[in-house]
Symmetry: C2
């Protein structure tokens, strides 16, 4: 098991951890890619499971949550903040970036959406890209803006998948738990993309990499799949390197977990999403009584 | 669920299934890669679980088993035979290739070892390749011969891992079941490869892809990992294309499973290795009473 993140601030700023946060466990697929791509770095992941899901929250609420979480991670002296959540990225990324650069540490913030949109645009040959995402993400238009901003001649075919993330979260990809329903939902989601003859598909929800083989089979071998995790990992490397903040240590770094909800519930769900040993989970940021009552 | 493989021979020879066999469930990681790389093809997989593990068998026994299995798969009119097992490849590939080309169907046979050795040689920049495999596979010298045959100036550092496959098979990579022991064994296996400063590592056992993220972290980001499944999938595509036998159908093909042992035991272990829905499992090739008594 990886030991907990250091409580004493390391003397070399390059050895500070990278902070990653999400509304729950979905962002662990992003952390997985970061852990595999940047094995020498330390990470601290915060899952805001007590207030999950973010899809039902207002933009103002999400900005407030994101600021709270950023403060919590700043106290742990993160050198880079990764927002591994579509809703939080859409609602709070610019405000977060401004706030974090004002701190004494001057921390960069990167989020999902833009990295995978850029990667998809640089991957497609036909100029026809597909997007699978939650209804909220599709409705936000964030991927349309990012794709069109990168190349106005590329067309994006978006499919809103209301059922896919809940099925995956409830166990549809746990190993024994692949079932007819999951296969049917995956095929249904891919059908409009096949009809549109896209050659590149963005997985615009952090839950979807868990069923990537099913998606690849449904889309066919010639379709390139772009995930938030892989795209973000590349951007994280560049962000660190541009400030000279990439660690010079060798060997495996450490990683640890913070959860605003029950640590045991986080652990029970989390390992399947991380696909690596989970290690310690610590509860942080307890909700106020008022908020707890409000959320039932 | 995928429906069972067709019992009626298809009229178009390009629509015949691809046969894959292994001593048990390990070869399902190879089938996984084939299903993702060649989604339009039909597959029939035979796991010889009643006689698992092959590592304890003599070469003559393995040749006999391989011939029996090949006959069983020929009856299902396979158009290509893939040996997804190191021991069977080492003991029986040339004999199988000769036998299968004598049949009226003239079926090609491809096996592990050579595809991943060639891919490793074409991947390495430093000329230093590592191998992780079972003691039997390392002792066979098959990878040394394949690597040196492809490029005599490349050096191969082999690590025999007696514990890794058993730990993985018993559940070490099941999600919740990552534990200290697994992490320790992975780090121990990688240490000699780090010392030898290899830049490419062959996973020479079909169980190992299940802990690939752990291996990648232990080896560091700059080391390329080569798996049997990915290397074989490429060779299978070439083998089919060279004979004009790749299917012209579109959409997902079907796949089904044969097991010489208990189908339920196969199913219980199999889904974790396949990482796709398992579908039907049929028992075939019942063992003789004498053999059953012999094996306890």
């Amino acid at each position: 098991m990886p030991p907990a993140a250091p409580t004493e601030p390391p003397t070399d700023p390059r050895d500070r951890p990278i902070g990653v946060f999400d509304s729950g466990v979905g962002g662990l697929t992003v952390l997985h890619e970061l852990l595999v791509s940047l094995p020498e770095e330390d990470f601290v992941y915060l899952g805001d499971t007590a207030r999950f899901p973010y899809g039902e929250r207002t933009g103002a609420e999400l900005q407030e949550f994101a600021m709270q979480i950023a403060e919590e991670l700043l106290r742990r002296r993160v050198k880079l903040l990764v927002v591994a959540c579509n809703s939080a990225t859409a609602a709070a990324l610019p405000a977060l970036q401004e706030r974090m650069l004002q701190t004494t540490l001057g921390v960069d913030v990167i989020g999902v959406v833009r990295p995978e949109a850029l990667q998809a645009v640089s991957t497609t040959r036909s100029g026809r890209i597909g997007l699978l995402a939650t209804p909220t993400t599709v409705a936000s238009g964030a991927y349309d803006a990012a794709v069109t901003g990168a190349d106005p001649h590329v067309t994006l075919t978006s499919v809103a998948c209301p059922d896919l993330a809940p099925i995956i979260q409830s166990g549809g990809a746990g190993g024994e738990l692949f079932d007819d329903r999951l296969v049917e939902v995956v095929r249904g989601a891919c059908a409009p993309l096949l009809e549109a003859r896209v050659d590149t598909v963005i997985l615009g929800c952090t839950h979807y990499p868990l069923v990537r083989p099913l998606l690849q089979r449904a889309l066919g071998r010639d379709v390139q799949i772009v995930t938030s995790g892989a795209a973000l990992a590349r951007q994280a490397m560049h962000a660190l390197a541009s400030r000279g903040l990439d660690t010079r240590r060798t060997g495996e770094g450490r990683y640890s977990f913070l959860s605003t909800g029950d640590p045991e519930a986080f652990r029970a769900l989390g390992t399947r999403f991380l696909q690596l040993p989970l290690g310690p989970v610590t509860q942080v940021l307890p909700m106020s009584d008022a908020d707890a009552i409000l959320r039932g």
